[in-house]
Symmetry: C2
Subunit: 934 residues, 2 copies
């Protein structure tokens, strides 16, 4: 047996924060791991339950069979170092066991310590840490502060042993390998967050995950990608219990969550251990982990019986023999006795892995065969275009990819899963716990004539928030479309209530169907897919006879004026019919987006022009049996209609006209509500109040469907009477279901609270600008871009196109979208309009990094796309304007001093990168805000 030990120290250079931020902004998404081999996290329900024994046992069991194989043991966080070193324990037990039971073939075992705190580093000197023949003579700590980064020394402590095989020629195909690594070590044997603080050696969550990713990646990667044979395995051992804090203070179960690696839980065989084991399991489940097996040391209490009963068939439970009090044989006998248990565990881990891989590979085909996706022409979706989503963590999806080998990779959910999403990673975990609680407390309970906390609390929050000063009642339903149908029923009833003469006429014998109640709506608006909601929208691709033969279009549909940014300027675009009117030229463009919303526009001649346009339209449609019984609008932004921003002045004038005529006004805030546009409700942006308002989507934080229709007291009163038949007879079984209400309560509070939502500007109840205005301007200047609308959490970009490339059915942007998926941005275009939608709490840094990537891909797209090139017009503000701005020149030297940027080609990305450097310099972005974001 040959053994060498070498130790060396490579102090980390202080690159300064800039580089760190750049790496974060430009590196590929951090969360990515290969699926070439099983990678498991070893958790325990408490400290000292034998996680390391399990790791060691697995390493022996795994490497003792065929060869060559590789077993990787990673210990990201080690306290009590160097006295305690779990990686060293695994390494030593392995070679001690092999000395006792030699293998026919050779194994190269190594132990590597990457970074330790200054006190831990000092302790290394002169300790007996370095076992075997080595004595640590190459080791020296340079403990000048300057040579350490964040209180760590980069201790390249390394020891290895070549364990010679007992059979000649057995190593013909190479030798096996045991790789043990400690990533971070602290001296004190306390919780990592305490050790980090006391020893001044900090590691952020992001940084830790990044190191972990590299440790997994560098040792497995492509080399080990041969499917079929499982010739490698990796275990990551956590510190303490599942919810013990990591070095930053984040609970470890939260810290490692973005990876969502499958788990092995080391349970507790002692008195009280059943409870601890079950609770730890539940904490893991509450973070979305899959637990492949439970294993624990026997203490003679038969804890496996109640555990098996609890786990039923879900999770196997394995029992290890008692660890002897007498450790004189270094546990060799115990490992020998435990061999079959570890072999079972290993096999469970393998088959769970193989099953997962099989499923990941089968899913696209099965999906194509049995699912029926909405809004999808299945003919256009080959199997390889199907995205397999493994999980979500905050704004990011973890998807299965194949890039020369299988991997799980992160993508930003840029369409916010059909505009529903809001939670960041921390909020998601809290929502998950609340969902478990609510399901356990209520499941669902019936609503009418009952009251229960989540429904009442949500109603209170809605009336204090989005319904403030006008709404007095909350009507719950299941989704935006049902909320709209309810709103229409409310509005029509109110209209009939106010126009009793119509009804009396009806009751007097006339056929009531002769009263033709219509809705006043804007062309391009969209209110949902059920028939009643569809009737309130103008004819569109969604309403064709083949789609819905019953659709009539029961409305008077007006063409609205829109606003957008074009070539760096916010501009007004009037519909054709209005262009016949005269108004002053000054209204064509705005000095800023804020100007568009200013209420002093009410006195402008444009406002007058709008008023006369509206009253003429109403006049033309009044009389006879036809009556306008409601106005319905999506305030400010028409979503499905292509992310069109409607001139808020026009909408305000429209609302006022209708209210003066006693036509009830409905705001469809299904898309716009709850900070989607930067304010809690879009009504705030319009500066006027509806009679009825509909909310859904983001209301629950995007976790579960629920809708609310808010109404004023006058609306409610139109339903009061002496018969049940006068009541609003519309309801769904799950009206005000407890889980939806609870999710909404949580979300509304979370978004509104400046301690949880970093984007709130103080007490102003406004979100800060999420989309960097200079970047947005830059994009709008690009010749391939027709218009940009950035407001609140939305940034929409219409790509210039012609003919059939324009509109909903266009596939024009699909190549662009495909490229952006490669960049880790999961988009779904609306024809030739692409958009990014973040959550109300998404950091501006994340938003900027996405815009940068989009800009780069638009550049590329316009270069390769013939038709795009065809429509490029040289705008007065050329795309080089930005480069000319002197404020950026000073950043050149920074740019030069930096390492090459891999993600953007210098040709197209340089200006943007320069710009980002400037931003980073100026803002000194806080470190931890970025951790989950990228």
């Amino acid at each position: 047996m040959h053994s060498t030990t070498t130790l060396f120290l490579v102090p980390i250079r202080r690159h300064g924060l800039f580089k760190h931020h750049l790496r974060r902004l430009h590196s590929k998404p951090v969360i990515e791991y290969p699926l070439t081999h099983p990678i498991y996290t070893i958790w325990a329900s408490n400290t000292s339950l034998g996680k390391t024994l399990v790791s060691a046992g697995l390493s022996i069991s795994f490497l003792s069979t065929t060869h060559p194989k590789k077993f990787i043991y990673l210990k990201p966080v080690q306290t009590g170092f160097p006295d305690d070193s779990d990686s060293r324990f695994v390494y030593r037990k392995f070679y001690e066991f092999l000395a006792y039971k030699p293998l026919p073939f050779s194994v190269l075992a190594s132990n590597h310590v990457l970074r330790v705190s200054v006190p831990a580093g000092k302790s290394l000197l002169g300790t007996g840490f370095v076992g075997g023949s080595g004595k640590g003579e190459n080791f020296g700590i340079q403990n000048e502060k300057g040579n350490f980064f964040d209180g760590f020394g980069n201790v390249g402590l390394y020891e290895e042993r070549k364990l010679q095989g007992s059979e000649i020629g057995a190593d013909e195909f190479g030798s096996s390998e045991l790789v043990c690594k400690t990533m971070h070590g602290w001296k004190e044997a306390v919780s990592p967050h305490l050790a980090a603080e006391r020893e001044g050696a900090f590691v952020g969550d992001y940084e830790l995950l990044d190191t972990l990713k590299r440790c997994i990646g560098s040792d497995l990667g492509g080399k080990w990608c041969d499917k079929g044979e499982l010739d490698a395995m990796c275990v990551i051992e956590t510190a303490g219990g599942v919810a013990s804090p990591g070095p930053s203070g984040s609970l470890q179960c939260d810290l490692y969550r973005p990876f969502r690696l499958p788990a092995i839980l080391v349970g507790d065989g002692r008195l009280g251990g059943i409870s601890g084991t079950i609770s730890a399991y539940e904490s893991l489940k509450l973070r979305g982990y899959d637990v492949a097996a439970i294993i624990f040391e026997d203490h003679g209490l038969m804890n496996e019986v109640p555990l098996l009963s609890y786990f039923r068939k879900r999770v196997p439970v394995l029992v290890l023999p008692p660890v002897p009090q007498d450790m004189s044989d270094d546990l060799i006998n115990w490992f020998d006795k435990s061999h079959t248990v570890f072999t079972s565990l290993k096999e469970i881990m393998f088959s769970a892995f193989v099953e997962r891989m099989q499923r990941l590979h089968d899913m696209p085909k099965k999906a194509c065969n049995i699912l029926w996706w909405p809004f999808t022409q299945h003919k256009f979706v080959p199997q390889e275009n199907v995205t397999v989503i493994d999980s979500r963590c905050g704004e990011n999806l973890a998807v299965h990819k194949f890039q020369s080998f299988d991997l799980i990779s992160q993508q930003f959910d840029a369409c916010a899963s059909w505009w529903t999403q809001g939670p960041d990673a921390i909020m998601q975990i809290e929502l998950a716990r609340d969902m478990g609680y609510t399901a356990a407390r209520y499941g669902h309970v019936m609503f009418p004539e009952n009251v229960y906390e989540p429904a009442l609390e949500l109603a209170e929050l809605l009336l204090e928030g989005v319904g403030k000063e006008w709404a007095s009642r909350v009507y719950f339903s299941d989704n935006g479309s049902t909320a709209i149908e309810i709103a229409l029923k409310m509005a029509f009833r109110k209209f009939l209530f106010d126009n009793k003469e119509l009804l009396d006429l009806t009751n007097g014998g006339m056929d009531e169907k002769c009263i033709d109640l219509k809705v006043l709506a804007l062309r391009g608006s969209y209110h949902g897919d059920t028939l009643g909601a569809m009737e309130a929208q103008a004819p569109s691709p969604y309403t064709g006879f083949l789609q819905q033969p019953w659709y009539k279009g029961r409305g008077l549909f007006l063409d609205p004026p829109t606003v957008c940014m074009q070539n760096g300027l916010w501009k007004l675009c009037l519909p054709e019919k209005m262009q016949t009117e005269k108004f002053e030229v000054e209204y064509v463009s705005f000095s800023s987006r804020d100007e568009i919303f200013k209420s002093n526009r009410d006195g402008s001649s444009l406002a007058g022009c709008y008023r006369s346009f509206i009253s003429q339209a109403l006049h033309r449609n009044s009389g006879g049996f036809s009556h306008i019984g409601a106005l319905i609008i999506e305030p400010v932004i028409q979503g499905a209609g292509g992310m069109q921003m409607i001139d808020p002045l026009f909408q305000r004038v429209l609302v006022r006209e209708c209210q003066s005529l006693k036509v009830p006004v409905i705001f469809d805030e299904v898309f716009t509500g709850f900070w989607r546009l930067g304010t809690e409700s879009a009504a705030e942006l319009l500066c006027c109040q509806p009679d009825i308002s509909c909310f859904a989507k983001l209301m629950t934080g995007g976790i579960i469907p629920l809708a609310a229709t808010l109404a004023s007291d006058a609306i409610f009163k139109a339903f009061i009477g002496d018969s049940k038949l006068k009541a609003l007879l519309h309801g769904h079984s799950y009206s005000a279901h407890a889980m939806g209400c609870m999710a909404a309560v949580k979300s509304i509070k979370w978004f509104k609270d400046c301690t949880t939502n970093i984007n709130l500007i103080g007490e102003s109840r406004l979100l800060q600008e999420l989309w960097d205005s200079e970047l947005v301007c830059q994009i709008s200047l690009h010749p391939a871009v027709h218009r940009v609308v950035a407001l609140g959490t939305l940034c929409a970009i219409e790509i210039k196109a012609e003919g059939s490339d324009v509109g909903y059915a266009s596939m024009y942007a699909s190549s662009l979208v495909k490229k952006l998926r490669e960049d880790g941005i999961h988009m779904r275009p609306l024809g030739n309009v692409i958009y990014v939608m973040c959550g109300p709490c998404t950091s501006t840094q994340v938003c900027s990094s996405i815009l940068v990537k989009i800009f780069a891909r638009i550049q590329e797209f316009s270069q390769v796309n013939d038709s795009a090139t065809r429509v490029v017009e040289q705008s007065p503000n050329s795309s080089n304007d930005y480069a000319e701005s002197s404020s950026l020149r000073s950043d050149d030297e920074y740019l030069k001093s930096l390492p090459p940027l891999v993600h953007f080609r210098p040709t197209d990305g340089e200006l943007i990168v320069k710009y980002l450097i400037k931003k980073i310099k100026k803002e000194k972005l806080p470190y931890d805000k970025l951790e989950y974001a990228l």
Copy 2:
């Protein structure tokens, strides 16, 4: 200081199982507790963390202030007895502390041990257990087996001390009281389930809760109901950790769940204790508990810092001083030092209690002011009629009541919360964990062109189950109504696809609106509240002009023949139009319900009659622009239409006629699907297959809204083409949301698995008969009853009524329903139809006990109700038929030997009680199946 100790033994007589079952069936609902004073459960994250120290500290803190007060300490489960006795510890520490720090007023302290196992009882003899002046001389164990019940002796061990006050006259208003009780003791210091097994002393979950209820009730009850002053307090101390098994093996957090008392969690201040504390907290939350405070002993590790960070503002965290190693002063100093902490804890507990009470009292008023309930005339709902639902546990609601004092009381959710509910208490907890997991793993992710496990697995399960042999695609949406609109769109497209000539004509220039596509449907059917779904139903109270001015009724609506049980017989009722046809008399009634479903009826003359009726109707409506584009039916039972059972032969004939004409057939199984009618789908009962089928409600187990429209391959193919515009452009943001899919996966598997669903008959995929056929027959014989339909989980009873008392808007049954709520049955009538709906796993015993109560109340109702008396007709089978049956006579002696039954007046309930006794005798019902049920 005066002290007495008396011990006595009252052996429990073996009454036999019969009496136990009767008590369970007839006693008031077990789950009920007063809200007159704070009652808390003390939990811990592990054993030996000081739960009893906290209890003792609280007792001292509570009783040390003003007086007279009462503190009740309950220990339901004590192992290691009598060496360990926590109630004795609390009792002793209290008087020891008062000896050190006397109070001005007197306190009577007592300790009481109710039941102990035989070995524990034996150990009591000759031990020093009896402290103070007593010596246990009155105590003797009669250890003959016969004197013990379930291995327990009813040890009335009792000790008390009068602690004299230091001030003369301070006791003017009476003295304070400390009551300590151990409910069950076992000798071995192991987990209770092990001790119970080893010592042969078992206590079921139900029995334990019942004893606990009586301990809480007898000591607090009305006497202590004076609100405002909190002059009493009760703590219940659990054993071990939160998820430690109780004596039956149920985890304690599950065992005590029906009470859902607020919790105090004793955390762990040691290394690793942060994790254990958080996990224990999460296990409590996952069972719907509210945790009022965390308290733990300081071990110098500052565990409160990360705990506070985790709990944010949600839960206060309190730290107790370290418990000294040296216990020579019996912890007196420690209690003294901890006094302020315990006072804070007590105040937190008090203010949480007061806040809860305040909220419970305010909720009805707030609900009336701001909620807008569906299908509810608010004018008819005074505040006092609003039910405040505290929680749900399986099929039961826990509601707030006021009956001379405030209490939480259990009600069976007899309307299954609008027909959605399915889970029993165990399934609910598992669903809750799955909901937490799914929210953490996915939240919600977008569906189109994506695939993720819960959506795919659900689709697979649906196609293997309810879609077996005919469906090939699954289209997800949010609720039954949207599922129907999607189904209609599918059917119409298929019809147009098959009748291209119509479409070509259209494309050739004709106005497409001239094709008037109609749906063929049955009168009385109901398919949802959105406009598209409403159009498919015949005019009804839901469709009036005031309700939905856009409703036209785009269908051909046939009057269907119905079947029901009347006067003990299943009868056919033909619609008027059909009665003109001739058919044989033998079809008017059936020998059994099974006969109705028999396929040999297909050859009958009635079938021929149906066929000609249908083809004539279709003939009349064909030609011109009008086309029947789809058939839609609710198979077997029309739910909202008044729980009408349609003759399955008629529906089968109808389906076959349509399919022969290539009219796509839609089954609306929103209500009937997933075992609601005893089979997984109602299509199985009809013995024919649709082209499209809609599911919702019970699909998710009733926890969350989700719907699925299943379609055959031929339907799907009609949407394949070269344009996205040919795709089905209908979708909702939360299409196939992960949580809904996961809940459905869990529920479908649970209901289908005979290890989890006790009602499944072997491998037959049928539910056993849940509604006792003799009881159902008995009810149908009652003169006040018009008809009964009992099938699967549904038992509907139409009360005889006339004129305006009939139909949807009728309030006729409301007094009956009110009375049944007093019996713990929460109903909501459909006009003059009342119904009970249980879950697929509800035990038949529960079903029978409900029917018994309903029978009794109908009897009462018919006696007091004039109009009911008016319509009573003496049917040929009189209501005494049942009493005459000789098979029951033999039970008379049992009846006489039993104690008086409090819940039913002997006058009206006797026969039913006799009947039940017979059932119980015959079936030897297993004990534990009932535990959660009642």
